[in-house]
């Protein structure tokens, strides 16, 4: 087999890695949509905010330093300490849980029972608020995120596979960070599935996703479940923020990774966890393969739009997505 074949395999492998990341972001959307019927526009900004907070805590930035300095004429910027990655991740997780609690208290609870479009609008407001709040708290400069994940091509894989395609093939190039991202995302998904299948709270989450009234009637407190769901979505956002932040730096464009999740959701359905995963993988592989094979013929940069075209074509034939429930309007 020629080198071309193995380069194609390499493209597919990289597509799968990217796909896992898309799936991770899409998962955040699905969790919230399933349990409360809200399309959470703020999911991407949550990833940005989580990444900012993580870097801020880890590198000892003084929160709201601009504001404090402006008001008190001080010149604070750093506490002058560094906190180990693990502790910083833990602290950020706590911040995201606190955030979830606030969202439920201040937004979801007062708006409970409103039309979905109103809740959607509320999450748009939430997104812009968080974006501004994150900048105010941590500053809007681009930050480097480093929690110790290895970066660069994996030498082991490259060398051990270089014999495959003869002279012109140098072995598979796969970024270490992508491998880690794929492994962590997979673990996270498995943990979520196990938790939701085999525990009392997991069952309650599924119950709330199915039928609010019935869930209330067996004693499930919707608000508690919402806080849990938003916390989990916040944690998923943190993981996504770490992966993408390590790649691209922590900056505004991080919040746009949410846009990558949209075609995944169109493909996989808004209510299906397996759908988010399979959809993410299809989009990841599809867009890399398309860029690799057709891209050069039409001037490249197909990755910007291919996913949407794929999703649109798909939408026409299966509006409920791959695994989504059939859309039936209740009358």
């Amino acid at each position: 087999m020629g080198p071309q074949f193995f380069y194609t395999i390499e493209v597919i492998l990289n597509g799968l890695m990217a796909g896992v990341m898309y799936a991770l972001v899409a998962l955040g959307f699905v969790l919230i949509f399933k349990s409360s019927g809200i399309f959470n526009y703020a999911q991407g900004v949550m990833a940005l905010f989580a990444a900012q907070t993580l870097v801020g805590i880890q590198t000892g930035l003084v929160p709201f330093s601009h504001l404090i300095n402006a008001v008190f004429g001080t010149d604070l910027h750093h506490f002058g300490w560094e906190i180990p990655s693990v502790l910083a991740i833990l602290a950020t997780t706590l911040v995201m849980i606190g955030f979830a609690w606030l969202v439920v208290r201040l937004v979801l609870k007062p708006l409970a029972g409103q039309e979905p479009i109103i809740l959607f609008m509320a999450t748009i407001g939430l997104a812009y608020f968080m974006e501004g709040f994150g900048d105010l708290m941590w500053g809007s400069d681009i930050k480097k995120l480093d929690v110790g994940l290895p970066q660069g091509g994996n030498i082991g894989i490259e060398e051990s596979t270089s014999f495959l395609g003869g002279e012109e093939f140098y072995g598979f190039y796969i970024d270490n960070l992508d491998i880690w991202a794929a492994v962590i995302a997979t673990l996270l998904v498995v943990a979520l599935v196990v938790f939701s299948q085999y525990t009392k709270v997991g069952r309650a989450l599924r119950a709330v996703a199915d039928d609010h009234q019935a869930a209330l009637s067996v004693g499930i407190n919707l608000e508690t479940i919402w806080v849990i769901i938003w916390s989990v979505a916040g944690f998923v956002a943190l993981v996504a923020g770490i992966m993408w932040g390590a790649k691209l730096g922590v900056q505004f464009s991080l919040s746009l990774i949410a846009l990558k999740a949209l075609p995944v959701l169109m493909l996989g359905g808004f209510t299906s966890i397996p759908g988010a995963i399979v959809g993410g993988l299809i989009i990841g592989v599809g867009e890399k393969l398309f860029e690799f094979s057709i891209g050069p013929l039409i001037g490249g940069a197909t990755e910007n739009w291919f996913a949407y075209v794929l999703a649109l074509v798909f939408l026409v034939f299966r509006p409920q997505g791959l695994f989504g429930e059939k859309i039936i309007e209740r009358v």
Binding site: K200, R203, R206, A209, D210, D211, Q213, A214, V218
Partner: protein
Amino acid sequence: MDGAAYVTPDGRSIGDVVMEMRNITLRFGGVTAIRDISFDIREGEIRAIIGPNGAGKSSMLNVINGFYHPQEGEVWFRGAKRGPMKPHAIARQGIARTFQNIALFSGMSTLDNIMTGRFTKMKSGLLAQAIWKGRAEREEVENREIVEKVIDFLEIQAIRKTPVGRLPYGLQKRVELGRALAAEPKLLLLDEPMAGMNVEEKEDMSRFILDVNDEFGTTIALIEHDMGVVMDISDRVVVMDYGAKIGDGTPDEVRNSQAVIDAYLGVAHD
């Protein structure tokens, strides 16, 4: 009919008042769904609520389990006046229910659906589940045993693992009853448990309701349109029409009441 325990015509003794509705009025905008209604439910009895369509029967159950909050009146449960409470808190007090339009968790199996009925009985919180995994597992097993008993009782072993969305209507109704029973409620509310069933299914369901009442002494309030069934299984009956109470008593008393006969024959209201 106040005071202490009394004995029904068929010789069963009925206990003290468990639930008392005092002058309940419930409005939706211009519509008055319940108009100044009072009645009580006693320990161990089967209490039927009947009436024509739109009479306000379901609304009454919704008041009892906290979905609706009446504008006027008081609800007394086990000797204490109940403040405005959320439905999930009321479930914790031991009130379980089924719905007129089946409300199951359609993506889950029969087993998981009934397991959710144990929610209020399971103590391990989220953190405990993560930290004391052993205890959470033990609790899971203990509760699972009770759920299996409910499944045996309702004779639905064959569909334990089936996603309930795929079950025929009659069985879904039975699973829904199972979910409510799993909570070991002090008061069980059933909104038209036999609606849409054939004769055989109705007989089965009647038998289950009577057995629950007999074997576990569960107090039951149920809404039912089939007069034959109501007369057969209930101890006392409340009759509603256009939001008002027009009758209350034993099946025989109610059956012979002129107001009830008029309501059911559709005599014009003035």
